[in-house]
Symmetry: C2
Subunit: 423 residues, 2 copies
């Protein structure tokens, strides 16, 4: 059976599939200005340039006393006790700016407070002793000889005025929000949220809560993919419309797709994209746009569909939960980050030591569910079936194993922690 607007591609590598998908992920138009408080996880749409320097002026990096080093040296020469002693002339709290430092005096100063004009060092309070008497004004003994510049943070040392502190395309995390706030940004320009319509197909699917476990009919299974797919989409900053389980009829599928395409950037579904599977999503997508069925040489996760429904992207994930989960992380996640203009879209892997054997070679690149153990190595989940999520729950990452490679205990393998993929 051949259809006019559906192509079946030969087995393709993950890298080729990713390149093709990223090529299709043209960055969404539209910049949103949102409160810096609400920008966690979003992608910056413009460079952020500092309109001021940080710190704004020379300031103290310690609680102590601001001094003029030559005054301390002079006082030391004049001292009989061998310890410099100077008058306390002022107190500068953080947030206040002091007067110029009077000759032969010191100023009490706190971390972050501006250095008074004329001072060139700070002596930390542990090296000072405050002398008070009823008759005289307060004096301070300076027990350590300061060096010019000591315990000073220089104006602009951390951020120069005009410097780019965050680049367009960076994904904002808590520290980024703090940095943006530190240069006075209360609103940030970010890419708008991708609008994603999510649904499932399959007459065997039952929603949890709709039928209790003891009343499930033979062949019926609970829909689980939509639960993790929705959570993954939300973590990536998407606005998710949950279209539920679409009935497996051509008219219902066409109607659901056409409606979803009106106001979504991506229509995401799972199931129904294997070669042999019979459902109505494939012809429905073709009738409204185009569809490519990909066979990607990875395990889990071989079948994958990419297409267009009018102006919306369409992605069909495999129906097996682990295949759907892994394929999302490897392909849909970078796609959605690219839609938002993120510059870093792929995950980082690191070298780790296998504490397991893997004798079953596969001609596909495999992503094995593993967990770091206390001995600095990786353990393998015994059941690598793609049918249940138990392996993905037990594991804390994936081993990226090249085609045809067996693994022996102690071998160095590529490890991708889930923490990198779930952020």
């Amino acid at each position: 059976m051949s259809a006019p607007r559906m192509t079946m591609k030969p087995l393709m590598s993950l890298d080729d599939a990713l390149a093709e998908l990223l090529g299709a992920a043209v960055t969404l138009e539209g910049v949103e200005s949102i409160s810096t408080f609400e920008a966690d996880g979003r992608v910056l749409a413009q460079d952020l340039v500092a309109a001021l320097q940080v710190p704004p002026e020379d300031n103290s990096s310690m609680d102590g006393y601001a001094v003029r080093c030559t005054d301390v040296a002079q006082a030391l020469r004049e001292s009989l006790s061998g310890v410099a002693e100077l008058a306390l002339s002022q107190r500068i709290a953080a947030g206040s700016s002091g007067a110029p430092l009077a000759p032969a005096s010191v100023a009490r100063i706190f971390t972050g407070a501006p250095i008074p004009l004329g001072a060139d060092a700070v002596v930390m309070q542990e090296d000072c002793e405050v002398l008070t008497s009823e008759t005289a004004s307060t004096r301070v003994r300076i027990k350590a000889v300061p060096e010019p510049g000591q315990w000073l943070r220089r104006a602009g040392e951390d951020i120069r005025q005009g410097a780019r502190v965050l680049a367009k395309g960076e994904r904002l995390a808590p520290a980024e929000l703090g940095l943006a706030a530190s240069i006075g940004m209360d609103f940030l320009p970010v890419a708008r949220r991708p609008r994603v319509a999510l649904f499932s197909t399959g007459d065997e699917l039952v929603m949890p809560g709709a039928v209790p476990p003891e009343q499930m009919k033979p062949g019926a299974i609970y829909n689980s993919n939509r639960f993790f797919l929705r959570a993954l989409l939300l973590r990536l900053g998407c606005a998710v419309s949950d279209l539920g389980i679409v009935p497996d009829r051509l008219d219902a599928s066409v109607q659901a797709l056409r409606a979803a395409a009106q106001n979504h950037d991506l229509i995401l579904t799972s199931g129904g994209v294997s070669v042999g599977e019979e459902d109505h999503i494939k012809p429905a997508v073709q009738s409204l746009g185009s569809l490519d069925l990909w066979q990607i040489a990875i395990k889990p996760g071989k079948p994958f569909a990419y297409g267009r429904v009018q102006s919306a992207h369409f992605i069909g994930l495999p129906g097996n939960p682990v295949s759907s989960f892994v394929t999302f992380l490897l392909l849909v996640r970078p796609f959605l980050l690219k839609l938002q203009g993120a510059t870093q879209v792929t995950m980082k892997s690191s070298a780790a030591s296998a504490h397991f054997t893997w004798a079953k070679v596969d001609k596909r690149r495999e992503f094995l569910r593993v967990r770091r153990n206390g001995a600095g190595g990786l353990d393998l989940f015994p059941n690598q079936s793609s049918a249940v999520l138990t392996s993905a729950v037990w594991a804390d990452g994936l081993v990226d194993n090249p085609p045809g490679r067996t693994i022996a205990v102690g071998d160095v393998v590529r490890f991708i922690p889930f923490s990198e993929l779930l952020a």
Copy 2:
């Protein structure tokens, strides 16, 4: 100066500080039942036990044909062409349960569909050929000899009925939600959100947006800590009340603390907890409860305050942004997870190779801001000052460096990726 209900502790190790803090973090009472769709990031309050087995019955793990192996062997013996040929007696889609397999026939079957009674293997469709003729019923050529059990997933193979699929104290992530859904759970029992009151103190602080950069007074700086602290709290499942910048007066501080203690589990602030700093938070906390000032032997992040304000916990973080950020990740994060009853509260580190030198030994345990490079090693951010978040933005993790240890290029160090700490 000594106060009745404030203690000053000697320099303590991070491990001791963490142990003391976790000891104080008694798990919050109250279990909430929330939609599985909304449970990402929350902590499970009860074990989840499967009320059904997964898969519910023996089913196919391939698209193909369900067969009785002895029938195929028999047909092969009778065949003139050397290929077994059997009648197609039924078609079993996923979600439907077929009739018992008629003698000497095969059943069309799809991934996930129940195996008909009498069948004992599946032959994948790539190894079959469908013969149709106008006069006869459809027949299927079976080109590979099946083994009993082939391409079958056995009932209960993935989850046994009565098995604990998720344990109390597990933090829920997308895969966990999918697994819970797969056993029919539409609502999950989770620990209630910790209610956290967040505020800043310091007369030098200005809110971004309140004053434009060019009009900032000398000594004034933008408040940045509250931006990243709020985002970190939200990522940990907390309900955050932002109390803003509390005026640095005793009456205002007492009033703010007393109000916050009424309906919060934790009052979190930054700044004002150094030994030499003069502000009104310390006496205000003492007047309403108790306060311990800790000097923790870590860098950045030495000063730390833990106390109680009536029934609420009080934590005071250092005011320097990087100190505040790092201290939150190392101490407050585990504290908040423990409050929710999470069993895994500390971060995982791994061995990595330093591609930098660190000659400046410190008697404190240091957390250096580093970034993984393309060559599998770690680069160091040149400015390790605790004053600006630039290092935490540039970096993608911390090196946990023991006291007094220098680092040479190629040394193996302990690396903690931020992705582990920010989830």
